[in-house]
Amino acid sequence: MIVRVFGQAGSEIMPEQTATRVLTCIQCGKCTGGCPESGKTPFNVRMLVRKTQFKSNIDEALPWYCTSCGACSLRCPRDVKPSEVIIELRSKLVEDGDIPVTIQKALENTFVQKNPWGRSRNKRADWVEKAGFEIPHVSKTESKRLLFVCCIQAYDPRCMVIPVNVAKLLRAGGMEFGILGEEEACCGNEIRRIGESGLFEELQEENLGTFKEYGVKEIVTLSPHCMNALKKEYGNTGIKVSHYTEVLARMIADGSLAFPGSFEKKVVYHDPCFLGKQNGIFDEPRSILKAVPGLELLEFSRSRETSLCCEGGGGRMFFEVESVYQRNAEVRVIDAGMLGAEIIAAACPFCVMTLEDPATEKGLAVKELSEILVEVI
């Protein structure tokens, strides 16, 4: 175990604001109570805040357990924002260059190719081939409405269907949109949470420059993670940012998108942390699913604000913690099975990726929301 003393108030490592917030912590433990990692792993978020208050030694491996679900910050009565404290701890490790090698690779890849997997930037729009129709560059659109695709949807064979599906759905609803293709860079949401704020700023600067160059007025994102970054962490851009479920919910409500087909399945909806907890979008995905003829919508007992994190966020897509324990995704799948669900629907690519492994094993299907919808349009 490598331990380290992290900076406190006055040090350049932890900004004054964070240090002050940390001091107001009353150690009530509500953070730990809602944390998807505390209890079954060595990670204890309350303890980490405590140790930061006292400048005690901290095991370097611990900050990497956090999935950035945001439950702690949501539950904290004193606005300490423990999830942000974790990011500060990570940035100290990042600045020292002493980080898990797979995280290091993800960061270096993002620096070179603008995506954490290091795939060629020139192949960022390869998914378009699968759409079967032309998708214009955003500069060629009248609305200057951008479909922001981002890395996992652009490159992962499992998730490449998401932009294809959403493009079809927007088109079916008569909405004009364009893309940036290879000019798009990673949104940086996970990069910031890994603690690499400098790289996040570079991505932000590059994307904002591109948005400005083409006069982007509105952005529709596929992943809630991208929405979070673009909406809340890119500063005051004057650009309206929505998750695609918000857009589709509106289209259904105003009658521009209808589902003539039917989908006779029992579906349980899993709230992604970055869509639900952190951005309050609970009703739109549900209203969309309810609009699908034949679909029976089930609810997890832990849903909405208390939804159980799939553990795919906060850099955990690129890093495997040392301790072995029952994955939340597996817990989630067992719960879904007990509800009698046939399908788990999620509106986040990370959730789909993490849930699918245990689900397949237990004979359940995991579908990204758009995968259900394209079957009924």
Partner: protein, 259 residues
């Protein structure tokens, strides 16, 4: 110990489909991103670790166009004290020409050093020659494939070099010497963007390659570029189960992993 480390900015082509232009005259790198040569990253890290322990300085040197300043900033962020750019807009394919340029630069500028590090090879041309030629023309001991530095004394170093099949060779080299560092000798630290920004405040000296003309030595010339014979997707083994399995074992034998 003063260490000169050569670091090169190379095209990151691993994920790219490269195109040859102008009937073989050039490889199109216009849409390819660039990065530090992987082997040089290990070299810089090794040099920095040595001076962190033994004292001394690391000077990073790059030959290339103005953009190569990027790898110097990176080296400084890792712990190098100085960064020298020998600016040359023309790509020098001949490693002999590069080595002689370095020799003339070191002599003319009186650059002091105890040890020179290069990477074993660079990712782009994979020549793996600059260190060896430089060692010979400087008249210094040389070793390549250095996978471990076991001891550093005033007048010598004990190093391990990687041979084939999990075998290594332990060698004593007199200092000063030239070493080509193998990847895997260490785990290079992560260089954060904040770190690079701070490093940008350290002045990097720029020299012009044209000021260090090399004597006329016989070199090599590139005639043209060509594509390798097409491979194209997986070859599917077909037939009955025992036929396919027999073929599979045949492949294992051919690749030398199964007798």
């Amino acid at each position: 110990m003063n260490i000169l480390v050569f670091t090169k900015r190379v095209a990151a082509t691993q994920e790219e489909e490269l195109r040859i232009r102008d009937e073989g005259a050039a490889v199109d790198l216009s849409k390819v991103p660039f990065k530090i040569n992987d082997w040089d990253n290990y070299s810089v890290e090794e040099a920095v670790r040595i001076v962190e322990k033994e004292g001394g300085t690391v000077t990073a040197i790059s030959i290339g166009d103005a953009e190569s300043d990027e790898v110097l900033r990176r080296a400084i962020a890792m712990g190098a004290k100085d960064g020298f750019l020998i600016e040359s807009d023309a790509v020098m394919h001949d490693p002999g020409a590069r080595s002689r340029l370095i020799l003339n630069f070191i002599k003319k500028e009186n650059v002091p050093f105890d040890v020179i590090f290069t990477g074993v090879q660079s990712e782009d041309d994979q020549f793996g020659c600059v260190g060896g030629i430089l060692g010979a023309i400087l008249g210094l001991p040389y070793s390549s494939m250095v996978i471990g530095i076991d001891a550093i004394e005033k007048d010598h170093m004990i190093i391990r070099r990687e041979l084939e099949g999990g075998l290594q060779e332990r060698v004593k080299l007199a200092v000063p010497c030239v070493l080509s560092i193998q990847s895997g000798i260490n785990e290079p630290r992560y260089v954060s963007i904040m770190g690079i920004r701070k490093a940008s405040k350290v002045e990097r000296k720029v020299f012009k390659a044209a000021d260090y003309p090399a004597e006329n030595a016989p070199g090599i010339e590139i005639v043209r570029w060509t594509y390798p014979a097409k491979k194209g997707g997986a070859t599917m083994l077909a037939g009955e189960l025992d036929v396919m399995c027999g073929q599979l074992l045949g492949i294992l034998k051919e690749k030398g992993v199964y007798q």
